[in-house]
Amino acid sequence: MSRRHELRTLLRGALRPPDNDSAFLLDVHRRAVPQERMARYDDSYPVDLVIVGAGAGGGTLAQRLARRGWKVVVLESGPFWDPDEDWVSDEAGSHRLYWTDERITGGSDPVELGKNNSGHGVGGSMVHYAGYCPRFHPSDFEVRSRDGVGEDWPIRYWDLKPHYERLELELPVAGDYWPWGDPHRYPHTPHPIAGGADAARGGAKKLGIEMRVGPVGITNGSFGNRPHCIYRGYCLQGCKVNAKASPLVTHIPDAIEHGAEIRAHCMVTEVVLDDASGQVTGVRYVSDGRERFQRADAVAVAGYSIETPRLLLNSTSRRFPHGLANNNDQVGRCVMVQGAPQVAGRFPDEMRMYKAPPPEICSEQFYETDERRGFARGFSIQTVGPLPIEHAQHVLGHGHWGQALREYMRDYNHWYTLGILSELLPLPENRVTIAHDVTDENGIPVARMDYSQSENDRKNIAYGKQTLHDIFDAAGAQDVLVTDRYAHLVGGCRMGSDPERSVVDSDHRAWEVPNLFVADGSVMPTQGSANPALTIMALVSRLAERLALKRAGESSAQRRHLPRRRSRPALTGADAG
């Protein structure tokens, strides 16, 4: 072990990220993000960049570029959450955290949306993700070359690695030493695990499967003004403690401090193109029932894998009659979900799986292709920790209702749950389109998502399910319950090196529109078996670096004659120069 590493281990949580003060900008006594000093821009002021969506992608991009002096406005369709007032320790009461507007889901294996994978409000889906923050493996970026399936990325793991390291410090991520993929350590020590996770880990060990604690974006020990996790178990309902990482607490405060405006309750309905120049000029959006237009030098769409394609497809013009940047019919294609069946096991002891964060332990031993398994690519194993409503759906998914369902639910405290994340492959016919006959409250046609599995996908899911079953058998579980589901969303506007087969280039720039960027998970050509949040942030962190190299300082000098922004935030001493 190097001396430098010894020192880092000793300091752990005391280390603060060098270029992100978010955790220190939060208030000690309340959870809401301080907004008193936030800049306000006029719609007519052509900001350097308007970002659509304040989730993992949009939040991180705003922070990075605001730090570089860019004038940034983020338009977010949902609210600017106040965890104290808006969030509850309650499953059914957390409905507002999800994208609940109508969407159509089709195909032979339709995907449940809403609560399962779609966020709303500042912080995006990371407000209600479990908290797992694994990196992708180096193999994920070249699955076509290695395994003959999916698609190669136009970038490599090593392009993202410095951004992974930086973000793991910013969130921060807690976990054991990680032996899989590109082996690495985490800045925070692993959290304690509950009895159920311990039993599952023991069962896995008997089968030669190694499970490790983490990696989770949950502070272990206080971090700035973010307190320690209290193990209340409601990670998926929004963290009232501010211990779990989401852009709301990890990047938005620093973005605001550096002059970004986060404009909530603004639903963007169209990215506007100047047909003459072929460049975008800003976005049309609805706020308080009134239609407005924000001018911008460039537009970054960060609405995630369904709303990003929907916005582009709904933004038609003479140049792009079938949707912005879609003359090659690629927008919306290759949208992906991960196969995420769950298996619950019953133990003699009470496990009370509602305690401790749902993400506890994880194995990536089955992540890479193993030809003996009979399919390409693999899956990871993770803990789930469902609360009563979620567990009831699990029991019903196994086929029990009535008295049998009630009996299983009265037994809730004896159960523990594992899930897999199967890497399902990108297929062009799995796509987001527009349901022209169904419109939202603004009269904009809603999205339709069609999803069907391939033969490889089915084999992968079946193998993973059997593995979980075996782990519980080895752990001494007395009964098991199995249910099928999906998790996460990526793809839909993928990056590539061929304009015929992708929407954006390796710098997230639309092939067909030079000042339009996609800055969210929809750019991913494949998804690995890792939860996507950290990789979305890392991609965008890299994008910000690429943009800053090209554009830093250029725009403000050019437009001294233009209208001023309405107010200026007070700058701290550190930024004034």
Partner: protein
């Protein structure tokens, strides 16, 4: 009443020959607070006793579920009769006290609350529930009954079972796939039932824990305020150990 050892799993349906549980009447009656039908797996545990430790916003939300039952505003009387019976069967609520599941579903539909997706071959959620009412009656008639609510219990059970297995056919069910209908309506029913603190007490769930949190995470451990299951203490051994003399 036979004492059970819940370290064993013999009471669980998967492990029983007919896949059905033993009668819940073998459990004690709930002694503290209310559970649905007063089944007492944790007979002395009432999650509402802990509410002073919850944050104000959560407390208000949870107590509203206990203190005010929303009236039926979305369904017609006839629909409410059919669907009320249906919800009672799905949740095995065969007597009072009952959690008013249909009223909670009705409120959600009346307010137009959506879940964020609709299957391509399904109508919107409100229409799904109305057609379900028609479809249950149609299926009951196939068994010779006049309608679903008035049918014999075994006919009702067969109809619900066929819906859960996606096996209903004819009339409504030729246009609306039963398996997806079951997914849509069961999602709403489970969400209503297990959002209610009476159900939390029944299953021994610790409930909201902010700002207090949980500290005892290990197997077989519980916080000092969490409820003990029925039959955990053998009264004979207990009195001996504590030196308590019976009279």
């Amino acid at each position: 009443m036979a004492a059970r050892d819940f370290r064993n799993a013999e009471h669980l349906p998967n492990l029983r020959p007919d896949q059905q549980p033993a009668s819940p009447e073998e459990l004690p009656r709930q002694r503290n607070g209310v559970t649905p039908q007063m089944h007492g797996r944790y007979p002395d545990y009432n999650v509402l006793d802990e509410s002073e430790h919850w944050d104000e916003i959560t407390r208000r939300l949870v107590f509203e579920r206990v203190e005010s039952t929303p009236p039926i505003r979305f369904f017609t009387d006839a629909e409410a009769r059919t669907l009320g019976m249906f919800c009672d069967l799905v949740m095995a609520q065969d007597r009072e006290p009952k959690i008013a599941v249909l009223n909670m579903v009705d409120a959600k539909l009346f307010e137009g609350q959506l879940d964020g997706f609709r299957y391509a071959d399904m109508p919107e959620d409100r229409e799904t529930w109305r057609r379900l009412a028609l479809g249950l009656d149609a299926a009951a008639r196939q068994h010779g009954a006049g309608d679903f609510a008035g049918a014999a219990t075994d006919v009702q059970m067969r109809v619900v079972d066929a819906l859960a297995k996606g096996e209903l056919r004819g009339e409504v069910w030729d246009e609306m796939p039963p398996a997806k209908t079951w997914k849509v309506v069961s999602r709403a029913i489970l969400s209503a039932f297990y959002s209610h603190p009476w159900a939390w007490s029944e299953i021994g769930f610790g409930g909201p824990a902010y700002p207090r949190g949980y500290a005892r995470l290990g197997a077989g451990q519980r916080e000092n305020w969490e409820g003990a299951p029925a039959f955990e203490t053998d009264p004979v051994k207990d009195t001996e150990q504590r030196g308590v003399q019976g009279t």
